[in-house]
Subunit: 344 residues, 4 copies
Amino acid sequence: MIIVMEPMATEEDIQRVVRKMESLDFKIILNRGDVMTVVAAIGDKKLIDPSSLASMEGVREIKLIQEPFKLASRESQKADTVIDLGFGVRIGGNNPPVIMAGPCSVEDNKDGLLKTAHAVKAAGAKVLRGGAFKPRTSPYDFQGLEELGLKYLAEAREKTGLLVATEVMDSQDVDLVADYADIVQIGARNMQNFKLLKAVGKINKPVILKRGAAATVREFLLAAEHIMHNGNSNVILCERGIMGVDTHFTRNTLDLLAVPVIKKYSHLPVIIDPSHGTGRRYLIAPASKAALVIGANGLMIEVHHDPDNAYSDGAQSLTIEQFNTMMQELKELENVIYKTQTTK
Amino acid sequence: MIIVMEPMATEEDIQRVVRKMESLDFKIILNRGDVMTVVAAIGDKKLIDPSSLASMEGVREIKLIQEPFKLASRESQKADTVIDLGFGVRIGGNNPPVIMAGPCSVEDNKDGLLKTAHAVKAAGAKVLRGGAFKPRTSPYDFQGLEELGLKYLAEAREKTGLLVATEVMDSQDVDLVADYADIVQIGARNMQNFKLLKAVGKINKPVILKRGAAATVREFLLAAEHIMHNGNSNVILCERGIMGVDTHFTRNTLDLLAVPVIKKYSHLPVIIDPSHGTGRRYLIAPASKAALVIGANGLMIEVHHDPDNAYSDGAQSLTIEQFNTMMQELKELENVIYKTQTTK
Amino acid sequence: MIIVMEPMATEEDIQRVVRKMESLDFKIILNRGDVMTVVAAIGDKKLIDPSSLASMEGVREIKLIQEPFKLASRESQKADTVIDLGFGVRIGGNNPPVIMAGPCSVEDNKDGLLKTAHAVKAAGAKVLRGGAFKPRTSPYDFQGLEELGLKYLAEAREKTGLLVATEVMDSQDVDLVADYADIVQIGARNMQNFKLLKAVGKINKPVILKRGAAATVREFLLAAEHIMHNGNSNVILCERGIMGVDTHFTRNTLDLLAVPVIKKYSHLPVIIDPSHGTGRRYLIAPASKAALVIGANGLMIEVHHDPDNAYSDGAQSLTIEQFNTMMQELKELENVIYKTQTTK
Amino acid sequence: MIIVMEPMATEEDIQRVVRKMESLDFKIILNRGDVMTVVAAIGDKKLIDPSSLASMEGVREIKLIQEPFKLASRESQKADTVIDLGFGVRIGGNNPPVIMAGPCSVEDNKDGLLKTAHAVKAAGAKVLRGGAFKPRTSPYDFQGLEELGLKYLAEAREKTGLLVATEVMDSQDVDLVADYADIVQIGARNMQNFKLLKAVGKINKPVILKRGAAATVREFLLAAEHIMHNGNSNVILCERGIMGVDTHFTRNTLDLLAVPVIKKYSHLPVIIDPSHGTGRRYLIAPASKAALVIGANGLMIEVHHDPDNAYSDGAQSLTIEQFNTMMQELKELENVIYKTQTTK
């Protein structure tokens, strides 16, 4: 930890900080510059909240040296995490990208869901996505079929052999959702719902954790750390668009570079959700191709058998035909990707 | 609702949209411009998800005319909401600003809490704030005393006559927290935890709803709408800093203008939290004065009897002495504020 | 133009707006909703500043329907613009991506520049980039060799057959830079330096216009419109990173999706600058591959013969060896890209 | 300067950095932690571009300790800068806030300008603002009267005794504008137009420098440093709204807290422009009051004799009557502000 003192800090201010850090078993190195003094304290960040130091007289700023996430960090595990999702599907490392596809919401029309499921399976998807519990900005929008939706998803799994990924929004529903789903998903708006992170940390199903729209990579990895710290290390990180500059032409800014950035600092698999990330149907295919080329371990795509009548997110859902076309293109890319993948 | 068609949309595309909107009982007015056609659909937004329209062939964009929040809107209630917090303290409308103060976290040292409580009461605060359940970015930071913290807060109320405001993080804890607290608080990271919003919508205690760091005013008011739609109309909105441009000199950007903006569009009371909003102790007093002048109905301030040893947020906590000084200055401002308040 | 009236607007307020718009030769359609009235005015935006309308009594908001850029818009020209850069190199449309490479700054060591130029030419670059005039955040950083740097660049062109692209920072230097350069570049910080845009609008050299870090796509295309409106339609748009959420792990957020977004709304070629866009050397190759896959017409890459001793931007410059490796990978990608390019 | 090494950096990587820094006359202190090594280099940042260090093998990150601005820093000058604007008006330090008011653009109607000028003078303004050169996002908007506008402003000064502040957009116009104006203004979009900063650094008129919408405080102060480094230390900093989260209800987010933040790190006067900062007329008065309370040294307000027919920015311009009312309120505030101003 680096403690930068104010230019006007007194010698007594400096010594007070040194004494406090020494009392906490930090080793201290004092760097006295022309303008200000810097106290380097070597030891373990866990012992002290940087904010209480920052409140001391004469302290200007605290700079952390070591990233605060540990279990999720590349330092703690050099090899990529590979997660077995079931049915022989593995995600992470050098495994081929896992395509997850399906409607935004599970709707009353079960036949529509089954139609979509059969179609995405035929096109090469391995996981059926679909929301039974729906986080909606407005209370007047469709809130999801809840347990009935979970039953529909389970039936689709029976009939297609697809794995099921679906969102859980509340700690009280974790067991229910984990009973039906193969993969439990935490939405972007709940990325820092710490009680929910704790609850999914205690189940033995893989978790897809979506990045909050305003979350830094550090905050994202710390959210994963909450899950891992509670016992579940099967975390799949999902970038789905962040707050950007332009909200007129796209819903969010898809941060594709987050894939190689996260892979440098963490061993966890990273997938991309181009549907929420862009909010526009014509951008899904280009974004998906770029995601695979940049190293994503999977994609999560909204597909609906009839988007014009979808209960939610129709504007960003592909039709079955569009999804088929895109999957063809992705397959052509895959071979060349494997050849050009830089070995670090 | 305004539906902007693509410049290359065909007549058939346009007619398909018209038929769909008419089938939903909207009244249609077609505006054909030189470059593109605009379909104005007059009726109630509740009936249709704009996103499914946006997916139709030839549609470029949907523009909402009416704000999607209703119960929270100034149109639904012209007069300011005034909430009775208990002990004769009322917030909103022309009532004097309500000062809420106390430590970031309730800590093991109960005497410290009581010392702070007596001091802030003496200085003019009406509400004691303090976290028993703590949302923490890192799982290695102090997570709060939970029910024990609630008991300490209740004891402080007994001894000081202060009302108690404290955060609830999970739907499972709502009843517990509501048993001890006079005002229940939803943190910024949970602003779109919709199950939690629903749960606090069903209790009969006032709710402080903090604005998420990346939430627009519309999303903020829609979050309030979730609570009101579930039956609890005693919502106090709290601005506590948004994502801004500078993260080096301040933790967040305190959006003070949100106060008059929200008051134009909603009747709910609005308070400011300058402690989280700035993250720096030296900014608390200037921010608090500006907040009162700009029309805030209250302030939420972190005060600690010994910030250098606080479990959390020491850098942004005032000492008791600093709080006393600031309260003096705020009192001098109050008189002039009432004289200059523009009558709209 | 859509004029949304306040819910409390009077009939007189509405009629005043109608009269004003009619006096400006707009055709008016009045949509009276339950809560508020909307005035649709059909005609040409050029005639009126929306802001003066917005100031009228009872007006809540103005919504533009048609994009304000014209010459740059896809509506004005359906086919992609193809620009002849010289030496038989063409950019835009279905031409292969044009690679521009070279050091951030032209430095005193001319031999280093020539070494880099020969190397990038051998690896397949068509354009040498390098700054003679350098915009630097601090006045204490290296400000560029100015005309001497231009001479070095011209000499490198002589010796390698590469085209030269270099930045102009001030309207007074436009003629000088255009004398030496084949392509004139406007930096991100000058994207809205309107006098400079006007000046490069009057020369007959192609212009690379970099997107400002906080510029929306609409503002970006309006900046191009300034150049085109002054007579120069050879504008190449360059995305180079926008303000995002994370400033710790990357310098900017590279908005790769801007490529297909811009191509939908404009006919101009779009290139990507992954060096400034990421600020980290290990991200250049993944970003470049993704850029080509997503449809970029070119790349602008910082390459330095000795990055550890570069005068500027060493951290984001590739070595010559790294550039060679990347170019190999890009070539393998190119074939498959052409096969999978969606035909819209 | 703190150089953080990668956890996997070799001893040779570390020694290479140490040798390089020692060769540049830095004093080195090595801090070897459990996970990574930190090299603290004590000396003067001017000697080296941090980016070239960051490119060295094994280096993860460079952290600057000392702020890179010098002349603008509070360390270089403890006392507030006070600038004599002419006609006995002084800005900065304990001088009363200077009110600058006038139309966004100087328009053809000279009588309108004179009417506004007389009115704002009577209400207490000391400076007439008005644009003769107008930076406009679209080339189709009114671009200003240029020299004719300057003549009108000079005539208004003759007739009212107001000082004149007006914008210069290009280095070629600096002498012309300085001939007519008492205060020269750099717009937000030109905050990093370094040639223009250099040019105004060479005149002997005070400069108002507006903060770019995406500029950090550090970048803002470095832009001031460019002016000061070229010889002109009479710089007035103006906050006018930054990119925020909400673009629906306000044009920008007015960063009022920037006033006390800047005053901590710099001695320069700071003013607020609530007109551009909010873009909405009903927010000007609340923002202005908050600005004075938070310590602003002045305000820059758009006032127009007939905003419904203004050539630009009508929606955010006050009428003369509204300005008069606001000035009354500000005067009542002033007395109490002086009493409560915290003495640091």
